[in-house]
């Protein structure tokens, strides 16, 4: 099966029922996407399929065939996505383990809704746990990006 991952076509001939998380990590060598719970409860494995944030631990590889898959490694070439820059500017990460998932979730939200309200941010990010408690900085980083975004009408 051919998979479109981070704008590159990758050949995958493993179990089509394997969750994308483990295909990405163990077979395709993309380890930025993290395992946290395996049940879609924590968001550490959040990636994009087309423009939607999805939990890679619950998404079988077959469901991604024919769609664009984006992981943290492909969000930008060099860490220059506005959210990645904001994450550094606000010194968001503590242990950092959940942050790829947090950034991917926030990126999908901002793509769909560049000027989210506080409540919309809370609700979009509710599926992503950070045990270190970096939420105040995640919030601040998202808001700073949203504030700088010019919405074309």
């Amino acid at each position: 099966m051919k998979l479109d991952i981070n704008n590159t076509t990758k050949e995958y001939d493993g179990d089509p029922d394997r969750p994308l998380l483990w295909a990405l990590r163990d077979i395709l060598g993309l380890k930025g996407t993290k395992f946290g719970c395996g049940k879609g409860l924590c968001g550490a494995c959040t990636i994009h399929i087309d423009d939607d944030a999805v939990k890679a631990c619950l998404t079988p590889v077959r469901a991604a065939e024919g769609h664009r898959i984006t992981t943290i490694e492909g969000l930008s070439e060099d860490g220059s996505h506005p959210l990645q820059e904001a994450w550094e500017e606000f010194q968001v990460p503590q242990c950092g383990y959940c942050q790829a998932g947090q950034i991917m979730c926030a990126a999908a939200m901002l793509k769909a809704n560049p000027k989210p309200s506080d409540e919309q941010i809370n609700s979009a990010m509710a599926g992503n746990i950070c045990r270190c408690g970096t939420y105040p900085r995640i919030r601040a980083a998202i808001k700073s990006v949203a504030a700088k975004t010019v919405v074309k009408t």
Binding site: K31, C37, I72, C95, Y97, Q99, I121
Partner: protein
Amino acid sequence: MNSVISLSRRQAIKLFGLTAGALVIGSRALSGSEKSRLHRLNAFVSIHPNNTVEIICHRVDMGQGLRTTFGLIIADELDVDWKNVRVISADGDAIYGNQDTDGSVSIRQHYEAARKMGATARAMLVSAAALEWKVREADCKTDNGFVINIKTGAKNSYGSLAAKASLLKAPASPTLKTQSEFKYIGKECKSVDAHDIVTGKAIYAIDIDIPNMLYASIERSPAVGGKIRKVKDAAALKVSGVKAVVTLDAQPQSVNQEAGVAVIATNTWAALKGREALVVEWDLSKAQRISDTKRIRDLKAGFNLKPQVVRNEGDIKLATASSYTAEFYAPLLAHASMEPPCAVAHVTAKGCEIWAAIQNPQRLRTAAAEYLKIDEKRVTVHVTLLGGGFGRKSQPDFGIEAVALSKKTGKPVKVLFTREDDIKHDFYHADSYQEIKVGIGADGMPVTWHHKTAFPTFMTVFNADAKELLVEELNMGAGNLPYDIPNIKVEGFCVPSPVKIGWLRSVDNVFHAFAVNSVIDELAHRANIDPVDYRLKLLKKNAFMERLADVIRRVAAQAEWNKPLAQGLFRGFASHDSFSSYVAAAVTLAVEGTDVQIKRIDIGIDCGFIVNPDVVKAQMEGATIFGMSLALQQQITLKKGIVEQSNFHDYPVVRMPECPEIHVYLANRAKDPPTGVGEPGVPPIAPAIAAAVFRATGQRLRTLPLRLA
């Protein structure tokens, strides 16, 4: 003339109070061939001819920013450009002194020594330049990676001097900077890991991938002390990718690993599927099959055991105008770090190499050597980044499982706990039962204070027969009561646990601070005195408690404690000193039905001189949320010795929508040494919430997590 000696390991040993050990190896910053050109000035500082500076961080970073903070301390005294600094996590090795990263001691116990490491290397570079220029060292100065000849203005880079400097004798007492000369210490400094983290390049234990590595998922005894009766592995072995099913014997102290059956496969998914197909019958006849209701009774009955009296002043039996008695229960807690326990081990004829998310790499190294019955020098433990730790990853059990499986299979093996494994096979935060009885004077202030606290000791990690609490455990918030009360008795009772007990962020301070602050709040209420004023009045009058008093006043001011709140909002206050730091917290919340909604938390800390302010602020924010999770959501319960929770649906963690505004106050005391930061923010949060809930509802909740009727 400087005498030439090989290396200045002795210097490191002297400064850190160490015994001798192996050389520093391992570098993620430079490639192998580049690394060989590094010149080592001491165990912590190496410089490449291209001016790259490698700084070793010997303490473990699990999110508390230590790699950045150690890097900046050494870089500042070394006087180099932060851009050129690469921080390398040290392997487990006695050369570095104690690497066991817990107890919030990394900066408070290693700050001065780290400064000396930077200053020593700087002095050697100055000596090398002075030799080259044939001038006195006093005629040289340094500036951002260069030694400068003051008279001629000539400038040599550290990179060009490193080879020569590495051969010089290290000065015994190098000149340290004054605080006003600091360039990085006490200032804002960018994290050395943030860019790798946000681009998905940071390496955690789960990301370690070495050739021919196999992946293990382990079914462990559901209750402590279970034995394998029967393994039905036919279906598991049929799963594509599964290579073997291997049994693991239980390991005694101090590994404390349960018996298990490992499904070993060529990838994680196959191992997990194989494990689903695996059937293990357990003999739990020797296991402790205790359930929660009995456990709480056992804890309470602990008061009948022989007491360990840690404090006894005056006479607690004095008659007083009135009295107040309250009992408190706090449950077992799991750590639930985002990266579950994970380690890779490769056992060969030569020895053993381990990559692990481990808080105590030396302990894992020793345990691996003991397990393999080989010399410790043949075991290398590489420390990856840790996806959280909070005390769980001090334990070497998961590393030893990887070692055992690698030995049995002859291949490198990665052991990864599932979330269910993590929640069900933790070294839990101690559960506790407490009683505080106070005799109150006519002025509303306490005259007698009798605190009984029953909980299991974490010393069972090292000794199954440990039947006494450590004095240190009792002095985490009970024996060291900071209030000026003439008659005090504090007694501890050690009640053995049916599950493994370890240590969790701020340890026994969690439940002691909850009980003590809740009683103080009630006493203030009964005396009709504001709880902030009551604390300030009751605190001991000494230099230490003046620091706590100051933080209390500052946090109260920041929270506008004396200003009336909007309708429906209520406040609570708590304070606690632990890990030599002083913390106060003010909570503002609303209650809707039985739902507690935290709106704002103000938290302040006096942790002496602040080495990395942004990290201290981040730790206070994180501790606040950690405290909220245990105050409102978390508990581990037992049914016949088996943990009932399994994942984030039944062991929840505070999420973004529940996260309040958090305002942090940092006292910066330039003249006092740095004290603990990672843990002391946690203890005051639960009691401050409970106090606010009392004001909102009239319900005095004395059980964690707080549940409104």
